[in-house]
Structure formats: C-alpha cells, structure tokens
C-alpha cells in the first residue's frame, strides 16, 4: 500500500472578511459546494467550511472561517483573525461603500494577523457589470499599493472563485517553501502533518486537533 496519497499534509486557516452583503458566505459556498446560494441569510456568527485542495502535489486542507460582516459584530469577529494564514477581503463592485471600507478592514487584518498572512482582495459580483460602482483599475491600484493579490470574481457564476482560494494557498505554500512562514510559530495559521498510512494517521490527526483546540 502506498503511503496515503489522499492524506493532506497541511492545514491552512483562512478568514473571509468584508462588509455585510458583499457575498462572503456565497463565495465560501461556491468554493466548497460549487453552487450558488441564492437566498443566503446574513451570517450571524462565523461559518466554517473545509475543502482539500492540491498545490504542487501537496494535499492541503483549507479551514475557512466566514465571518459576519455586520458592523455591530466587528469587535467580536476580530477574535477570529488570529492565526489566519490567508485572509480573503471582499467588497461588492456594485456598492462603493463596501469598497470605501476596505482600508478599515485592511487595518484590522494587518493589526490582527501575522506579517506573512496572505491577503487576497476580491471584488465580488462581477457578473453585475451593468451596476458597477467601482472600476477594476481603481481596485487594482488599491491592491497594488497595499501589496494585495486581487481578482474580480462572481460567487454567482463561479468566475475566479476557485482561483482566489487556490492562488492564496499557492502563495502561502510558497512562503513555506521560501522559509518566510515559520511553521513553528504559534499563529502561522498553518499546520504541517507528515503523511502516514493507516491508523497512525488517525492518531496523528487527533494530536494535531488536540494541539490546536486549546484555544
């Protein structure tokens, strides 16, 4: 039996942040279920999703925390930034206010995560081009100025959704390879788990869980 080719070797923690109604939960749903959730209720809390992806032949388990966007929860959702390896910062291209608030979201992200946390800016709802309120160029410039990765995506059509999640993972994986991201740091947002076949893996996995559940 070959050594567990379906095991994942890393766990990356992601957070999705941004104003209320920009489509954070829909992006998560599109990514994990490949479906558009038409009547998505407002997230009251923090939703949780997972998917295993492959980057450079490595299986990586993404643990995605989708946060409530309502302003009144802002103080509480700040608790969830800690230990994120990737942050997907979302605005709605048809609502300028959601774009205007980005600097505040960015400040929070910078303050509450590691320097190595990969921040990916997503302009959601790009299927609604007729109602566009923020140009691609403007947002691209904002992203460049702040060193963010950027795409316009649509949780409805699925356009660029996969890409945003995967590119973020690639960047994180690169950071690991380059040694910029220290796996041993407590809040790197990445757990490494050497693959082992059979039941040992189960035990390993539980130890990993045990270590991280001490929060």
């Amino acid at each position: 039996m070959s050594a567990g080719p379906y095991n994942y070797s890393y766990i990356f923690k992601y957070i999705i942040i941004g104003d209320m109604g920009v489509g954070k939960s829909c992006l998560l749903h599109q990514f994990t279920e490949k479906k558009f959730m038409a009547d998505c209720p407002h997230t009251i809390g923090v939703e949780f999703g997972t998917r295993i992806i492959e980057v450079s032949g490595q299986k990586i388990k993404l643990q995605i925390w989708d946060t409530a966007g309502q302003e009144r929860f802002r103080a509480v959702t700040r608790s969830y930034y800690r230990g994120a390896a990737g942050a997907l910062m979302v605005y709605d291209i048809t609502r300028r206010s959601t774009y205007n608030h980005l600097s505040s979201w960015l400040t929070d992200t910078r303050n509450l995560t590691n320097p190595s946390t990969v921040i990916f800016l997503i302009g959601n709802k790009c299927d609604l081009d007729a109602q566009r309120d923020v140009t691609y160029e403007e947002a691209k410039q904002f992203a460049d100025e702040n060193g963010l990765m950027f795409v316009e995506a649509s949780a409805k059509t699925g356009e660029n959704v996969e890409e945003a999640f995967l590119e973020t993972a690639k960047k994180i994986y690169q950071s690991i390879q380059d040694g910029r991201l220290d796996l041993n740091a407590a809040e790197s947002g990445v757990q490494h788990k050497p693959s082992q076949p059979g039941r040992n893996t189960l035990v390993n996995d539980q130890q990993v869980n045990k270590d991280t559940c001490a929060c």
Binding site: M1, G4, Y6, N7, Y8, T32, E33, K34, I44, G45, V46, E47, F48, G49, T50, R51, I52, A68, R72, F73, A75, V76, R78, S79, Y80, R82, P197, G198, R199, T201, L202, V203, D205, Q206, Q207, N209, K210
Partner: protein, 834 residues
C-alpha cells in the same frame, strides 16, 4: 445473537465471543457511502484468523465502540510484556468455532456495537493490569473524545476514496487485449547450447508480455546448497536472444530458487504502466522446505490489472500425485508477497498464470498402449488417465484454474538430443509433465503447444498464448472521477460539520430594574447529522463568556442529532453590576459567542434597557440630585457619575437624601427593633422601597423595618467604591488599632463620604443606645458595617487557600476595630469641626 431485534435491553444481547486485544488483534474502519443520504460505517475486526465485519450506522454508539477499541489498542501497544488474557480461557470452550469468518451482520447495527462495547468494557475491568494503565495514563481519553466529536478520521477518508474509486472503476477504465506468452521448460540441468527462439518467437506477432519458466536449471550440488549457478545468467542471455524480434522488451523481474527460474518481460511501450512488482519463492522439497522443489512467483500490476505468474516444480515419481497436490497447496498458502500490507497471496490477483513441471503422470496404462495412442495422435483416452486431469476434476488441485485442451505429444520423457521416448532401463511412461493453467476473468487461450524441435533436455518446452483483457486507466477520466469523489467527500465533510439552529439570535429584554431578574429562553436544535458539543465561549480579551449581569444556564452542553437544548438567559442587575450601568460604563448589551465544537460560531445579541436607580449611584452624584433619580433627564446621572468636579447651580446636600430617608425611617420606627440589620428583608419590599426612592412618593416608605435596613446596606454596597475609598483601604486597616490615626484618616475623606460616615456612625451609636430593646452589640454592628465601610477591593477575595483565609480573618478583625472606635467614642467634636 439476541432475542429481540433491534435490542431494547441488555438482556436482549448475549456474548457471542470474546476477543483478546492482543498482538493479533486488528481493527480498521471503512466507510461506505451508499448514496446521498445513507452513510454506513464498516468496521473490520480481526483476531488471529477470525475476521468479523460490522456494519454500523454512524453515531454516538459507533463512535464509542470504535473509540473503545482504539483505546484498547493504544494501551496494548504500550504494554510490555504482552498480556496473557488468562481470564479468556473460561470463554474459550463456549465461544464456538471460528469457521464462520467474515460473517457479515447487516442490519444488526447498534446491537452489535452494544454487545461488543460491553465486551471491551468487560476486558478493561477484568484485566487488572489494563485497568491500572487506564487510570495511569491521561492521554488515552484523547482518541475517544476526538472520535466522539464526529470528526471524520482521515484514515477513514482515505479508505473511502479508495473504495469509491474502485466502485467507479468501469467509468475510468477500458480494457485492452494484450497477448500474453507463457512458456515452461524443464532443461534437465543443460546449458543453453542452442537458440530458443523456436520456442519463444515462433508466432508472427510479438507478445505483449512474456513469462518464461525453467525447471532443473542446474542439478549440481552447488546450486542446491548455495542457490548459486552460472546457468541463471546463461539462460537469461538465451532468453533475451530468443525473444520476439519484432518488439523491444523490458525485463519486469527475474526470480530463481535453485533450479526454478521465472523471467517476466513486457514490451517497452507497457513498461511505464508496470507497478508494484514483487517476487517470492517457496521451497517444498527436502524437509518440506528446500528449493529443489517448490515454486517461484512474480506479481505486478499492469495499468489497473494485477497479474501473478507462478512457476513451480512439483514432487516427482509416478505414484506421488498426492505429494504434488500437497506441494501445490503449500505453494498457495506460503507464497505471500509481504511487501504489501496486508500481504498479498497468489489468489489476491485479477489474473494468475501457473506454469511449470507439475510432474503429473499417466497411470494405470500399459506403456506400450500409451505410446500407440500417442503415435495415432489420439490423446483423449490418455488424458483420462492423466493424474492432473483426474485430480483437477476432483478439485483436489488447481481448483478455480482452467487448462486448455492438450493437442500436443507428451513432453516427457525423451532421450536427450532426440524425439525418442526414454530408452533407459526405467523405460518411463510418457507424460504431460509440463503444463500451463490460468485463473481470472478476460483470459482466452489462443495456443497451447509444445516445441519438440528443442532436444537438449529430456523434456520438451511448452508454451501457451493468451489474449488477456487488461484494464487500462483513462488518465483524464480518472482525474475527473477522482475529483468528483474528492468533491463529494468534501461536501460530505462539510455536511458532517456540526449544525444547529438557534430560534433567536437577538434576545431582547424588557426594561431591567435593579434586583429584578428577567429570563428569556433560547432553543438550540441540532439540525446536523452529528452530535454537537456547544459552549458559550469568551471573546478576545474578555474574562468571561458573558457580562456579569447575565447568567446562561447551561452555558455548555451536548445535543444529539434531531434533539434540542433549552437555554435560559437570565439578566439580574445587583450590587456588582448596577454602578457600571448607572455610570454608562456598561450597557445592557452583550454579544454571546455560541461555539460548536469542531464547527461554526453563532453570535447571539442580548439587549435590554436598564432603568437607572439610586442603587448603584455614587454618593457624590446623589448629593447633587434633589429630585427622585428617575425624574432627572437621561444622561444627567451619567454626567454626574463621570464628572470629576461637579458644576451645579445648586448646593449639594450634605449627604444623599436617599440615605437620609432610610436612616430617618429607621430612627423613627426601628431603633427598638430586635435584630435590626441582622434579619434579612423581603425581596418584594426591597423592590417597593427602590421604587419609592427612585420615583418619589407622598406615601410613607413601604416595607418592613428589616427591609428598610437591608435597603440601606444595599445602597451602601452598590456604589462603585465603598465609603472608605479603595486607595485608603489598607491605610485604614493598618491604623485600625489607633483611634487618633483612624480619626485623622476619616478627616481626610472626601467631604460627602466623611459626612455619610459620621452620620451613619452617629446613627449607629443611637441604635446601640437602645441595645436593651434591639439586642444589638457594638461588636456585631462594627463587624457588619466594617465590611461595608471598608469593602474589599475587587478580586482580593478570589484566593481560597487557607493562608488567604487566615489573612482574611485578620483583615476582618481590623475592620471591626476601625469601626468600633467610631461607635464607642463621642464624635461631637467631629461634627462640630465641620
């Protein structure tokens, strides 16, 4: 197994068998996803040769069961030396035979889990040493808990993927017919002095796979004793030269045991798809294990089909057919490709080709008659007397294998160098010693023949050609289906995350008043497929999971799928939280984080309006309020509470009017009240007194004397700071034995607090003047008011160690002493000094 299905009571279950968790014990989870909604967990349990498959529905019971078993295994691995399980002997007789291995128990579901679970529990109780280990190692609870969380074990996931891929094999594979050449030759120890392409390459088209077996490669003692012979190289060379010239070949493996050698080649175009090559040898010769007889095997996977080739040389001599049968069975049972886990046997392959000098003879026929039939080319009558045909049809050997029709002359025994039958003294009867059999689907024999022109041995070589269907993986389709399986599992994993519905995430309370509790109910329903462990958790930087005016009952719990849990939220503002709400430092607003173990968090917002009250207001604020507290504009109280220097057009009262009202009432009506301050008031009275003070009323103050006394104490206790400010707390205690010093400190108190202090002391002296009626004692009053005037700073009471308790007693004595001075000495100079 049980008298009632499904079982309801323990008595419905019986102990079927008891398995020791020892070195031969194994347990593996397999998960089989039947369809979208039904997921079944299979648990393979093996003990020695017994294999049991349990089918279970995922859930608590299954989790417990598997958890217990893994726990037992973890313990077992840690133990030295291995346990003896002597207590098991008493079960051994009644445990039944183990012949029904692999018994599947569909539909028994939890019943099986239950009875087994008890079996395992029983084990931990009865084996004391295990019980010791149990108590001694805290880690062992970890696997169990993790499983109980409902998290999908990753090992299970891997198995599920394998299983799912196997289920869909026909969707991503197609079959391709490959030409397989199988040849066998007993070379009687001769070197390859002639070319052998006549044997290997006489067909027009090159085969895709060659499996070429030799026997008696070298009959020398050296070969036998040291398993080392130059013949190996020589014959390999001969084979390489003899392979079909129209194709290029890649050697898959060579395996040799003494004189038995097996070579396997594939055309180069297939080489990249050959995987998991393994070889194995089994000796069944002298002493039942030497390599003069036996078998050698090569197994590999080509694309998605597993192939096994076995070359054997079975026991000789006409009458020894049973030995030959036995050799076959020995090879079958002992040939085990151990690089795999679990090891693979010959039968664990899609296709098996068995070749060799099987040595079966023609018996019970006159040798002359045999030769006559052969000369006539009439083989059918002879085959009736062929031992292999006889034994095969009796299923004594090669059960499940097929052999093609024999249309060639017997291949044994010739005078070497000729086509003449054995002319030696033994004058052996000709026989078809050299045979090829096969087993598996999609195999069609195309040719079965001998090659009589090769005369160097006393045997003629034999070969067989097959068209064999090999399953080839379509890489693109495989990736697509693999992707689908992964996605499905991801989806499943997300579905298996704990899910709940909360009936209300915005809990709104009505107006909340001091000391008046209000409750709201919350229902958490487990709408997911796994048990949920929930807990209200602390937010970042918070010390508790909710504000101190809120109580959540229960704040953590466990809910089974489909069940729900009622949560009671109670808001109660008392002396600990009132001042913060009055001052605006806190609001009746909290966001609770309901955390599901291994899953999401839900925010529950709690809001309410607090009705301000004199309780919880500071003395400094109250002296500036000349009207009932609720009559001043909203915000004015906060302004007063937060102002360092109060600016007011009106002069403040010397002491808060509320204190005066309460004290005056007690002075008028309560001086002679027995047990004044000692007996508690009624809660309903307290609420009325609160309303009377906060709203103002022309009516006389409501409530009993004891209630009024308690209201006074509460008023003093509800302030943010006690009468003696926290910063003077320790100074006062240090000075407690010195009245002069105590007086000096009191002189330095902020004016209104000093007033209140002296006013109350004067009142208390008056109370003590009526000790004959109320039965009060100076010490008691000093103790009571000591804890109020000198309230401990927050958090100093948290330490419950005996040392801390001793300290606390000493401190409390000092408080008594401090207050005592002011109860027994005349304070008129103080009051006049003002």
């Amino acid at each position: 197994m049980s008298s009632r299905m499904p079982p309801q009571l323990i008595s419905d279950l019986a102990i079927e068998r008891v398995l020791p968790v020892d070195a031969d014990f194994g347990c593996e989870i397999e998960s089989d996803i039947r369809d979208e909604d039904g997921v079944v967990v299979y648990v393979n349990i093996s003990s020695h040769k017994l294999k049991l498959l349990f089918e279970m529905v995922p859930g608590m019971k299954t989790n417990n069961f598997v958890g217990e078993i893994f726990r037992a295994e973890v313990l077992r691995k840690r133990r030295r030396p291995p346990p003896e399980f002597q207590w098991l002997h008493k079960y051994a007789s009644g445990a039944g035979s183990t012949h029904n291995s692999g018994s599947s128990c569909p539909g028994m579901d939890n019943a099986v889990g239950d009875s087994m679970e008890r079996g395992v529990d029983g084990l931990t109780i009865q084996d004391e040493s295990i019980a010791d280990t149990l108590l001694g190692s805290p880690e062992i609870s970890v696997p169990r808990q993790s499983i109980a969380k409902g998290a999908t074990p990753i090992a299970a996931r891997e198995i599920v993927i394998k299983y799912q891929m196997a289920m869909r094999e026909q969707h991503y594979t197609y079959t391709q017919a490959l030409r397989v050449y199988v040849g066998t030759w007993n070379v009687n120890g001769q070197p390859p002095t002639v070319g052998i392409s006549e044997w290997l390459a006489q067909d027009p088209d090159p085969p895709d796979i060659y499996a070429i077996g030799f026997q008696e490669l070298d009959l020398s003692k050296e070969a036998f004793l040291f398993n080392d012979t130059p013949r190996e190289e020589e014959w390999q060379e001969a084979v390489l030269n003899g392979l079909h010239k129209k194709a290029r070949y890649h050697k898959v493996a060579l395996v040799r045991l003494v004189g038995m050698m097996l070579l396997v080649f594939v055309q180069e175009q297939h080489a990249a798809y050959v995987r998991a090559v393994a070889t194995e040898t089994v000796g069944t010769g002298i002493m039942g294990k030497m390599g003069n007889k036996g078998g050698v095997g090569v197994r590999f996977e080509l694309h998605s089909t597993s192939l096994c080739f076995v070359n054997s040389h079975l026991a000789a001599h006409v009458e020894e057919y049973e030995r030959r049968n036995q050799d076959y069975h020995d090879i079958c049972s002992r040939m085990s490709f151990t690089r795999f886990l679990p090891p693979k046997g010959i039968n664990d392959h899609d296709q098996v080709y068995w070749l060799g000098d099987l040595n079966y003879r023609i018996t019970d026929l006159d040798p002359r008659l045999v030769k006559d039939y052969i000369d006539q080319g009439n083989y059918l009558p002879l085959l009736e007397y062929d031992q292999l045909c006889q034994q095969h049809s009796l299923k004594n050997v090669y059960a499940g294998y097929q052999e093609g029709n024999i249309t060639f002359r017997p291949t044994y025994k010739y005078d070497p160098g000729s086509d003449n039958w054995d002319s030696s003294e033994k004058n052996r009867v000709p026989a078809w010693c050299d045979r090829v059999l096969w087993k598996g689907d999609g195999i069609t024999q195309v040719a079965y023949r001998s090659h009589p022109k090769l005369r160097i041995s006393d045997h003629k070589p034999v070969s067989s050609l097959f068209d064999s269907q090999i399953r080839v993986i379509d890489a693109a389709k495989y990736r697509k289906i693999h992707e689908e399986v992964m996605k499905k599992l991801d989806k499943l994993e997300n579905e298996f995350l704990p899910q709940v519905m909360v009936d209300n995430t915005e809990v709104i309370f009505d107006t909340i008043r001091y000391l008046e509790s209000q409750t709201r109910d919350l229902i958490i329903a487990n709408t997911g497929q796994v048990p949920v462990t929930f807990e209200f958790i602390k937010k970042l930087d918070d010390s508790s999971y909710c504000k101190d005016w809120l109580n959540i009952e229960p704040y953590s719990g466990f809910i089974m799928p489909g069940e729900k849990c009622d949560i009671k939220l109670e808001v109660y503002v008392d002396k600990k939280s009132a001042f913060k709400l009055n001052s605006g430092e806190d609001k009746l607003y909290d966001i609770l984080v309901l955390h599901l173990d291994g899953g999401k968090d839900i925010f529950i917002t709690v809001t309410g309006t607090y009705e301000r009250s004199c309780f919880g207001s500071s003395i400094e604020a109250l002296v500036y309020i000349s009207v009932p507290v609720r009559e001043i504009p909203l915000g004015r109280l906060m302004e007063l509470e937060n102002a360092k220097e109060v600016t007011s057009t009106q002069d403040p009262y010397p002491i808060p009017k509320e204190i005066w009202f309460l004290v005056d009432h007690l002075y008028r009506h309560g001086l002679k009240q027995p047990h004044l301050f000692e007996e508690p008031g009624l809660n309903s009275d307290l609420l009325q007194i609160r309303n009377w003070l906060d709203n103002g009323s022309p009516d006389p103050m409501p409530g009993s004397i004891h209630s009024v006394a308690e209201a006074l104490l509460l008023l003093l206790e509800s302030t943010a700071e006690p009468i003696i400010p926290y910063n003077l707390h320790s100074v006062c205690l240090d000075a407690a034995n010195n009245y002069v010093q105590c007086k000096q400190i009191v002189m330095q108190l902020p004016e209104h607090r000093k007033n209140v202090f002296l006013y109350l002391c004067a009142f208390l002296q008056e109370v003590l003047c009526h000790a004959s009626y109320n039965g009060l004692d100076t010490k008691i009053i000093a103790a009571l008011f000591g804890t109020i005037f000198l309230r401990d700073p927050p958090r100093s009471r948290g330490d419950l160690s005996s040392q801390a308790r001793m300290n606390q007693q000493a401190l409390d004595r000092k408080k008594v002493n401090f207050v005592y001075h002011f109860l027994v000495n005349d304070q008129s100079d103080f009051i006049l000094g003002r």
